[in-house]
Amino acid sequence: MKFKLKSQLFDSEFLKKLEQLVITSKITLADGASGNRKSRAKGSSVEFSDYREYSIGDDFKRIDWNAYGRFEKLFIKLFMEEREAPIHIFLDNSKSMDWGEPNKSIASRRLAAALSYISLSSYDRVSLVCMNNTVDKYKPDLRGKNSFSQILNLMEDLEYTGTTDIYNTVSKFNLKGGRGISIVISDLFSGGKLIDMIKYLQFKKQEVYICHVLAPQEVEPEIGMSLRLVDSETGEFIDVTASPDLIKSYKKVYKRFITNIEEICKSRGVNYIFLESSLPIEKMVGMVVNRV
């Protein structure tokens, strides 16, 4: 796999890891995500799409014996309906995501890239939507690994601006392609209502995954003096004097924030994955694909 690398965001080591992730994550992703989709494909027109090597567990019936005769290798015929799970990845690129140490933007982009790559590798159709308070960038219907470079390019050039309004923006997004998977990657510091977004996505027959990415400093704030806290998105500020009470109160509010999201997700049967930006990418991906 060779891609042109613009920056260190997606270095060669990251790409190597992606390959490994594909191997370890593929089956799970295929089994888990495609099970439903296969039953939907029965009886409908079967359009040939691609071959892939046989691997243990594949249906013998689908082995292309002609190809075997020619290459002496077992290949499986892939058909459109089987492999194309339409996956929408909604990546929050508001300014608030460009914060933290390690930076949430890096962690979230890597996660988005990794999930895209794994999906593309599984012959799923990936749509990447970068959004803040509007849809900023949109790469629809990418197929095959070759499309991954587009994703990389988009990620490399992605700018973090605007305010977080991912709930409203997703709710207004014209989601096409029927049943599928929607993965939202955001810090969820968003106006609007999470429940509205979930309802909308579920209405669009999406299986929803919410990847909640926060920086360690947002989990455990490190302030020890009188500060003017400036909002990275709006430039608004509030003055605080660091005190045990303040930190205690922050933790209380933070816990309420997380619990609230968890409860909404649970009540709607949404997969909620909390991810700290300090986690290694393989672990992040693991946490996501294990849910998928």
Partner: protein, 605 residues
């Protein structure tokens, strides 16, 4: 409320200054966060949980403003006026008598009195003049019309309580005369007994808790053949009957101890026998803790009375011989007129019908029926004069002047003498001190009167001997603390000292005659030491506390005419109305606020 330095309110500009400084100072370091999404919630949460959070954030500033305000108020000298305290002059009278040593109130009544007076003076309106009077044996103006509180309080603190009674009469006179000069005067008495002065409203700050007390109210001794017998009178001034342990100490060693049952308010006599006549100091002591410790002891000094040598120069006078023989302590010698060379070494010379041209070098003189002489003038001789009754010391205890004189010489009292017996034609007797010796001259011959036939004769003679043969210390057994003592120093004495119970040596002479000795505030045994050229004589005397008048702590509070304790009319007036100088309170508040500020600052609240 009055502010005595309203200019200080200009300092209020400090308040906006502090606020401005805070506004300028409050530059928070910018810290960019991803979003204020959670932080806004945090602030809402904090403010919802504690509505004063906003205040809390500015707590230091608020504390500093409070400090500044308190400081400005303190500098403005605020004074809370009390009703009736607005007078230009306050007279503070402190009772310094013995009963103020009682410990039934606080540390002692006296300390409490000083503390209350201190409070009164401290809280007086600035500019009020104060006269501080101590009322003990002597009534002293410690500070007159002073507006200097520090000085007044210094004087007040240095006041000492005495062991004597308080001279209320002198105090009343003094207060009355001051009031005449300053009619707008408020008089406040801090003590344990009220003082009523006609026409003067004396505010009484009563300092008494009716403490239980026992006292040795009297002690005396007599020498008998069996030794010394001591009488101690022990009084129970407590609120109940009591068994009182009493000890007798002889020369500072325990001689005997008894338990005496005394009913409430009564006095018991305790006798002690068989004490050796050689002792010099006897002490009665009550071994009990009570409210007033100093009256639990009384002392008596035992002096070996020397015999006075008396020379009677007479042809024959059986009456004088007999009466002198009755008088204790007289060793009588007789001689004729001619033996002038023998007139030496006697304490008293009695010249009967004769007075030599040259008086003996020593001793006092008593003369009957003198001839013409150089010492005084004999005017004439009269018969059957009428005797005028005179109130003289030598006639005390002699009831009436029921005697007649057949013949007497009329004398002219010299400048150093004073008439003591007057008859129709002039002076029949005089007394005086001439050349440092005591002289009594009677113009008549005893034989020409019926005086020897009257019961008054031995009394008059004894009185005369008392005066002519004085003890070194007058009334030595009955000296109370604070009282003055007159010493009768011997003619040969060159130097005289008094050693106090604490061992201090006080020189009392020369110059002669010795002044009245009044350093008697310390109870116990004193020693008069007279030094002559070749001799040193010691005379012991004791000074006791005036327990009879001071030991009844309940009585000293207030007594009705029938002697029963009555609730004081001033019961409700224990606290004397004072204004209040708020400065000290404000300064304390400043300290408290500064401490809070320091705590807030260090704890980062």
């Amino acid at each position: 409320m009055t502010f005595y330095n309203p200019w200080a309110f200009l300092g209020l500009v400090a308040v906006p200054a502090i606020i401005i400084m805070y506004l300028l100072k409050q530059k928070h370091n910018d810290y960019t966060v991803s979003s204020l999404f959670l932080w806004e919630e945090v602030l809402k949460d904090l403010e919802a949980n504690a509505p004063w959070q906003k205040l809390k954030r500015n707590l230091l500033m608020i504390l500093q403003i409070i400090t500044a305000l308190l400081l400005v108020f303190a500098l403005a000298r605020p004074f809370l006026n009390a009703v009736g305290s607005d007078v230009p002059h306050v007279m503070v009278v402190i009772d310094t008598s013995l009963s103020m040593k009682a410990t039934d109130v606080g540390g002692s009544r006296f300390e409490e009195a000083k503390s209350r007076a201190n409070k009164l003076i401290s809280n007086l309106k600035p500019g009020t003049s104060v006269t501080l009077i101590s009322m003990g044996k002597n009534v002293n103006i410690e500070e007159n019309l002073s507006t200097n509180k520090a000085r007044l309080i210094d004087k007040l603190v240095k006041l000492q309580v005495s062991n004597s009674t308080s001279n209320t009469e002198d105090a009343k006179d003094l207060i009355s005369s001051i009031i005449k000069q300053n009619p707008e005067t408020r008089v406040v008495l801090f003590g344990d007994s009220r003082m009523d002065i006609p026409g003067v409203n004396v505010e009484f700050s009563k300092i008494s808790n009716n403490g239980d007390n026992f006292a040795v109210t009297m002690m005396s001794h007599t020498k008998t053949e069996k030794g010394i017998t001591v009488l101690s009178r022990i009084s129970n001034y407590s609120s109940g009957d009591a068994n009182v342990p009493v000890s007798l100490y002889v020369d500072k060693n325990v001689f005997d101890a008894k338990n005496v049952f005394i009913k409430k308010g009564e006095t018991a006599n305790v006798y002690w026998d068989g004490i050796s006549p050689d002792v010099s100091l006897i002490e009665t002591r009550i071994d009990l803790n009570d409210s007033l410790a100093v009256d639990n002891s009384a002392w008596n000094a035992v002096n070996n009375t020397k015999e006075n040598k008396v020379l009677l120069v007479s042809k024959s006078n059986v009456f004088i011989e007999k009466v002198a023989g009755l008088y204790n302590g007289i060793e009588l010698y007789k001689t004729g007129f001619e033996s002038i060379d023998e007139w030496k070494g006697y304490d008293l010379y009695i010249f009967d019908g004769f007075l030599p041209d040259k008086l003996p070098d020593d001793g006092n003189i008593m003369v009957f029926n003198p001839d013409e002489n150089k010492l005084f003038e004999v005017v004439e001789s009269v018969e059957y004069p009428a005797v005028k009754e005179m109130d003289e010391t030598i006639f005390r205890y002699a009831e009436g002047f029921d005697f007649s004189i057949g013949k007497t010489k009329i004398l002219k009292a010299p400048t150093w003498g004073r008439e003591i017996l007057e008859v129709t034609d002039g002076c029949a007797a005089f007394s005086g001190i001439f050349d440092n010796r005591r002289v009594i001259v009677f113009g008549f011959d005893i034989h020409n009167t019926d005086l020897p036939l009257t019961p008054a004769f031995p009394i008059i003679m004894a009185n005369s001997f008392d005066w002519l043969l004085p003890e070194s210390v007058n009334n030595a057994q009955n000296v109370y603390c604070g009282e003055g003592i007159e010493f009768n120093l011997g003619l040969n004495t060159r130097e005289a000292f008094v050693e106090t119970p604490s061992g201090e040596m006080l020189k009392i002479a020369p110059p002669f005659p010795a002044k009245i000795f009044d350093s008697t505030d310390e109870p116990g045994m004193y020693t008069l030491i007279q030094k002559s050229a070749d001799d040193e004589q010691k005379f012991y005397f004791t000074v006791n506390v005036p327990s009879q008048s001071e030991s009844n702590l309940i009585q000293s509070e207030t007594l009705d005419n029938d002697g029963t304790n009555q609730p004081s009319k001033e019961e409700g007036a224990r606290t004397v109305n004072t204004g209040m100088d708020l400065r000290s309170i404000l300064l304390w508040l400043i300290v408290v606020v500064l401490l809070i500020e320091w705590w807030v600052y260090t704890n980062g609240v």
